[in-house]
Amino acid sequence: MITKVKPRIATTSLAGCFGCHMSLLDIDERLLDLVEIADFDRCPIDDIKEFHDHCTIGLVEGGCSNDENVHVLQQIRQHCEILVSVGECARTGGIPALRNPIALKECLDEAYQSGPTVYNPSGTIPNDQEIPLLLNRVIPCHEVVKVDYHIMGCPPSAETLWKVLTALLSHEDVELPYELIKYD
């Protein structure tokens, strides 16, 4: 007997707020239907820490704000047949990209030197080798790797994510009705 291998879905959150992942969980009890037709690979809600060799779909939330984000994005691209930028941060950099017109040093100084509750007698700015290096600009995913689909929304609604996932899993075109095309 041949057991059919279920397609795998990998997900990751880069410089985002996790809202897109929460929106995915907002499919509520359909989550139980989803795991009937697909398996989750590396995803923040399980304990798989590495991407599997071959995943059918990769969902990326968030843009790239540091070198670690870039690394993870390259990895998920490498392992996924179809890569989807989910939400405004992945698509455009989103709210975190509001720092782009401002010098990075100014942002760091505001957080670690000048705030009304900052206690920093030595003037330290976090710089340990254990924490990633910040990029000068927050960049959308498609400036780093090839992205196959972009889903708009902050976050995309659960209904939108459900429609996209089920279409991709059944090798159909993704068609969203007008009501689901929202950017907020």
């Binding site: 985002g16 929106s23 989750f40 993870v72 705030g115 009304p116 340990d128 907020d184």
Partner: protein, 475 residues
């Protein structure tokens, strides 16, 4: 040989974190740290934005508890524009939104994220240790968790317009009330939600009592506790005065006016984390650290203020002889007591005709500066803004809940690493113990990254010379 172990990313937490553990040549833990590894810069880039935009902008700090930031920013802006005396309808709609959010967030944490450790064991099979694994073995429990979270999310949608990143709260009030149809929809399943909440408290209680010996050894340490209570000392998650107690329950300060917060709390910067380390100023950076969130709140309030949660709290407090409970693993039980409290509050509010009131917004005399504090699911949340005469933000300072637990989580990591990794051959199951300790705090690393980092959780095992022996995650 000295060793460095890395866990990265820490999973089943919201956001990204990394743990590094350094062992000396005898296998003793030299150093164990939880790093927050992302920086956003909200405090800076929000400058120049119009104040009325802030409640919808800053909630993008966090997709898990956006309502906390939405409401904290609204409350601070109420004060900025001199409109902090909002109408009863507006306050109750905001409270409903807030209780709905804490309800969904606590359900999410307990059922979707933490329950696999409790059900399958801290070193349970990796492939099963997630909500899908729970759904396969305990389908009823998983469904209950999903339906509870859904109820909270639907309340947020009804009051804020969207489940995530809504627009319902505005400076001076709210922009919609709750219709009779919406109310009746929620009332139709309130009894089921009440029943599920009671059962969640029982599950968490029974688990804690059955594992009390482990819990007393596992990241159990004395700390100060911080949270909001109302004038009478009753827990108030939306508004109130700040209170801090020490590990024995003695009061450090109480009835602190939120506008004065900067005189009481400061945050230390350390080089190895983008997340700062808050402390109580009067006690200094070494002794002034504290815990926030469900454990701290249940410890420091005199009562929950709703009958069933009060009875549940009495049982909880009895375990530590009426003194503060300082066990990290007791967070789960405390969290479920709060979940029950929230559903009781939701039921009370749904039966309150003020929710259908039409007086939604008030105006006031512009003040230009405001602070708001509320209790987010994970703990005390501070928002402080200054706004100029052009309505543009000139200063923002945010202390998010998870930041306040930074020191405690680091101590939890150290304690568990020392007890479980010392002199042992490190394996996945042992390293998950470290993550279990972090998960007890339900860290929202997305939030904590606000200005600071989004932490992919990584644990590294390092030797005394700093070379990595093992690293969880990160090829």
């Amino acid at each position: 040989m000295n060793t460095r172990v890395v866990i990265e990313p820490v999973t089943r937490v919201e956001g990204h974190g990394k743990v590094t553990i350094h062992l000396d040549d005898r296998g003793n833990v030299d150093q164990a740290r939880l790093h927050v590894v992302e920086f956003r810069g909200f405090e800076r880039f929000i400058q120049g934005r119009p104040y009325w935009e802030v409640p919808v902008l800053v909630q993008r700090l966090c997709g898990i508890c956006p309502v906390s930031h939405h409401l904290a920013a609204s409350k601070a802006m109420d004060y900025v524009i001199g409109a902090e005396k909002i109408t009863p309808t507006a306050e109750k709609i905001r409270r409903l939104m807030h209780y709905g959010q804490i309800y969904q967030s606590h359900a999410l944490h307990f059922f979707h994220l933490a329950s696999p450790d409790l059900l399958f064991g801290f070193d349970g099979e990796v492939a099963k240790r997630n909500v899908i694994g729970v759904a396969q073995e305990y389908p009823q429990l998983a469904t209950q968790g999903i339906m509870m979270r859904r109820y909270g999310q639907e309340i947020i949608e009804a009051t804020a317009g969207k489940r995530i990143h809504g627009t319902g709260s505005i400076p001076g009030g709210v922009n919609k009330n709750l219709s009779i149809e919406e109310r009746d929809h929620f009332l139709s399943s309130i009894d089921q939600q009440m029943e599920w909440s009671r059962s969640a408290v029982n599950i968490a209680r029974d688990y804690t009592l059955a594992h009390l010996e482990t819990a007393s050894q596992f990241a159990a340490f004395d700390s100060n506790h911080l949270g909001l209570v109302d004038e009478s000392g009753t827990l108030d998650l939306y508004d109130g005065k700040l209170k801090a107690i020490d590990a024995r329950g003695s009061i450090i300060f109480e009835k602190m006016n939120p506008q004065d917060y900067a005189g009481y709390i400061a945050e230390e910067v350390r080089s190895w984390s983008y997340m700062k380390f808050p402390f109580i100023r009067s006690l200094g950076p070494r002794k002034g650290w504290y815990r926030v969130g469900p454990l701290a709140r249940v410890n420091l309030c005199d009562r929950m203020g709703t009958p069933e949660a009060d009875a549940a709290r009495d049982e909880f407090m009895a375990v530590s002889g009426g003194m503060p409970n300082n066990l990290s693993l007791a967070y789960h039980w405390a969290r479920m007591i709060e979940l029950l409290h929230c559903i009781e509050q939701i039921r009370n509010l749904l039966n309150d005709p003020d929710l259908q009131g039409e007086d939604l917004v008030v105006k006031g005399e512009f003040r230009g500066e405001g602070v708001a504090i509320l209790e987010a699911p994970r703990g005390t949340l501070f928002h402080h803004y200054k706004v100029d005469e052009n309505d543009q933000v000139t200063m923002a300072n945010l202390i998010v809940s998870t930041t306040s637990n930074n020191e405690a989580m680091n101590r939890a990591v150290s304690d568990v690493a020392e007890k479980y990794l010392t002199g042992r051959e490190i394996n996945e199951g042992l390293l998950n113990h470290v993550e279990v300790a972090i998960r007890a705090y339900d860290p929202c690393l997305s939030c904590a990254t606000h200005s600071l980092g989004q932490m992919p959780l990584i644990i590294e095992l390092v030797d005394g010379h700093g070379s990595v022996i093992a690293r969880r995650k990160k090829a």
